[in-house]
């Protein structure tokens, strides 16, 4: 019984780690491309900072949902 419980806890931890890790990778990949383009646009026109920032953080949703899944897997939510 104890080993089964340990197995479940281990799987939970692995699941949570994968959830947050992989979604963070995806978000980072997306945001890096958008961020580079935003900085390029800002070099031409300083006023684009606001729009550039918002566009850059749009993919943030993915990692937040990953965090939620991780917390659910660990049993906090």
């Amino acid at each position: 019984m104890a080993t089964e419980q340990a197995g479940i806890t281990g799987m939970q931890a692995i699941g949570a780690g994968l959830a947050i890790g992989l979604s963070a990778l995806g978000t980072a990949w997306a945001q890096s491309k958008i961020g580079a383009a935003a900085v390029g646009a800002m070099a031409e026109d300083e006023d684009l900072f606001g729009k550039g920032l918002i566009l850059t953080v749009i993919p943030e949703t993915m990692v937040i949902f990953g965090l939620v899944v991780a917390l659910i897997a660990l049993g906090y939510i």
């Binding site: 900072f49 606001g50 918002i54 953080v57 943030e60 949703t61 937040i64 949902f65 965090l67 906090y76």
Partner: protein
């Protein structure tokens, strides 16, 4: 406070005889944001600059040329009196002449120095092979080869008494009989010739050359010192003259914004509504000029109207965009919630103190950005406040149970001061507070957005565009509290209102509401990271202290380095995440921006 300052459109009309006088007065008042005249009606054309404009522009150009030629001076500029354009012109000419003379002398000396250095280095290389540099001449029967070689093997066949190598065996001086064909051997050895004219052309010895170099270097240092002296002497004047010339040029070019006819001129622009009295009374008793209020089609420029404390946060709003004239100025909200977020995320009295010092230093070093640093100092104050509430200072618990101050000093008072909770032991509570703050913040944004829409397009648009989101939240709460039976109809209503108000994009963006609220969990993340970082540094120092003796010194060192490093990380994190939450999660709910900045004629140029 909540909306930008009220603006009033005015028109100034007058006879051209008083044009200069009017421009001077307007510049002095410094409140008129001029609407540039750009149409050509029948008799009204765009005005021409005053004749003096050319002189001022030319003088500015000369001044910049002179300033560029001078080295940077650290002399502080005291207030210098400018006595008119002739005085400025004379001084600039005089300084220009001296500086140009000194600069050309400097260039010449530098070139001489370089040549001499090359010569001396070649002399030394030749001397290293054992050959006297005086023996390098143009001979009739001999060809002199001087240069670098790579391998020595192919040179074995050449007459060895004529081949001179240096100690490292990579530099050769070879006196070849002109009749002898040596090209193959030299090529095989990887010979690269070096330009020997500095040696063959001169008759000086090495010592003479070195003396000459020393002389040139002394002269060069002297000339450079003279340039620095010039820079120091004239620094104050040059700075004062530059700003004076800029002001004069601005005034001389002002008529470019006016509409003029043969004998009259008209200027239109915006002034703050509370300056109307001042402007009217200034122009009241003048004969040939008349000021009156008028109306205009375009939107007025936007001037912030905030209390002193709130106005320090205006650069943050400006970084996003200047608010439009008819929408809410979000600076007051930023000034309230940004320090709260910053303080909560760091929540440590010690780091609050150290970040306060950092921001104060920044304010002194960069006076240009003093408002930003003042705003950040408010955030530090909030951090100290939260630190005291949580009983944390540099990661050590100072108030409440297990207070380290009580352990050190024995004063029971520290242990009994009430605190909210120890963050290190109550992460779940931090989590909940972050989520609740997110809900409140986002809803504040939606409510402000509703108010903006109501101002712009009326009640129906306000309810349709922003009401849909609120209805969506109500649906979620109903579903959660009761059951699907009651939740579903509310949800259907919410989706319908969203579709009516914002179209398909509104419906597609429904998950974004959840993600925006959850985004505030980064507050929890940063708080956890902050607490952990401080604990790590303390954990490193703890065993060092326990060792005693020299360990205490190392412990203090570790604490200093660790907490300084932590301070900067926390400043960066707190600021970035806090401002990001405002810009992306809060501002997108109601802020449009894009207003024209208020830039009055006669204000100091920024």
């Amino acid at each position: 406070m909540v909306q930008p300052a009220d603006m009033q459109h005015i028109t100034i009309t007058g006879s051209r005889t008083v044009l200069d006088d009017t421009v001077d007065t307007l510049h002095q008042l410094g409140v008129l944001h001029i609407d540039t005249y750009d149409e050509d009606h029948d008799q009204f054309t765009v005005g021409t600059p005053q004749e003096t404009a050319d002189t001022y522009a030319q003088l500015l150009h000369d001044l910049r040329h002179v300033t560029q030629m001078l080295p940077h001076s650290d002399a502080t500029a005291t207030d210098t009196e400018i006595n008119g354009v002739q005085d400025v012109q004379d001084t600039i000419e005089e300084v220009q002449e001296t500086v140009e003379h000194l600069r050309s002398k400097e260039e010449r000396l530098a070139k001489e120095q370089e040549e001499l250095q090359e010569q001396i280095s070649l002399y030394r290389r030749i001397a290293a092979t054992g050959v006297k540099p005086a023996n390098i001449r143009d001979y009739d029967a001999l060809t002199t080869h001087i240069g670098t070689v790579e391998t020595l093997q192919p040179l074995q066949n050449l007459p060895q008494d004529r081949v001179h190598l240096n100690h490292d065996k990579n530099f050769i001086v070879f006196f070849a009989d002109t009749a002898l064909d040596t090209t193959d051997a030299l090529q095989a050895a990887g010979f690269t010739p070096v330009d020997s004219t500095p040696v063959t052309a001169s008759t000086q010895s090495l010592t003479e050359l070195e003396q000459e170099l020393q002389q040139v270097e002394d002269d060069l240092a002297d000339t450079r010192a003279q340039l620095h002296a010039q820079a120091d002497t004239h620094a104050a004047f040059l700075t004062a003259a530059q700003s004076w010339l800029r002001t004069q040029l601005e005034k001389a070019e002002a008529p470019l914004h006016f509409a003029t006819s043969t004998r009259s001129f008209t200027a239109q622009g915006w002034i703050p509504a509370d300056s109307v009295e001042t402007v009217a009374s200034t122009f009241q008793n003048r004969d040939a000029v008349h000021v009156e209020t008028s109306s205009a089609d375009e939107n007025p420029p936007v001037k912030y109207d905030n209390a002193d404390a709130v106005s320090q946060f205006e650069p943050f709003t400006d970084l996003m965009a200047r608010p439009q004239y008819n929408e809410i100025d979000p600076t007051f909200l930023l000034a309230f919630t940004f320090p709260l977020l910053f303080g909560f995320m760091i929540g440590d009295a010690g780091y609050g103190l150290s970040s306060l010092l950092v921001f104060y230093a920044g304010k002194k070093q960069i006076p240009h950005a003093s408002r930003v640093f003042t705003a950040l100092m408010y955030c530090s104050a909030a951090t100290i406040f939260f630190g005291l509430i949580f009983g944390d200072a540099f990661g050590y618990i100072i108030f409440g149970e297990n207070s380290i101050l009580t352990a050190l000093t024995g004063i029971q008072l520290f242990q009994s001061i009430p605190i909210l909770f120890h963050r290190a032991h109550h992460f779940t509570q931090v989590f909940h507070i972050a989520a609740v703050f997110g809900v409140i913040h986002v809803n504040l944004g939606l409510l402000l957005g509703m108010y903006n829409e109501y101002n712009r397009h009326g009640v129906k648009a306000a309810l349709l565009e922003k009401g849909g989101w609120l209805l969506l939240e109500a649906a979620a709460i109903t579903w959660y509290l009761t059951s699907a039976m009651y939740g579903l109809p509310v949800l259907a209503a919410a989706v319908t209102v969203l579709y009516l108000g914002e179209g398909v994009e509104g419906v597609v963006e429904i998950p974004s509401l959840l993600s925006n609220i959850l985004s505030y969990l980064r507050v929890f993340g940063v708080a956890v990271a902050a607490v952990s970082l401080a604990l790590v540094v303390n954990g490193i120092a703890q065993p060092l202290f326990a060792k005693g003796g020299i360990g205490i010194l190392f412990g203090v060192l570790a604490l200093l380095l660790g907490h300084t490093f932590n301070t900067f990380i926390k400043i960066m994190e707190g600021f970035l995440q806090g401002i990001r939450l405002h810009y992306v999660e809060l501002f997108t709910k109601f802020f449009h921006g894009g207003g024209t900045a208020y830039n009055p004629f006669g204000s100091p140029s920024q």
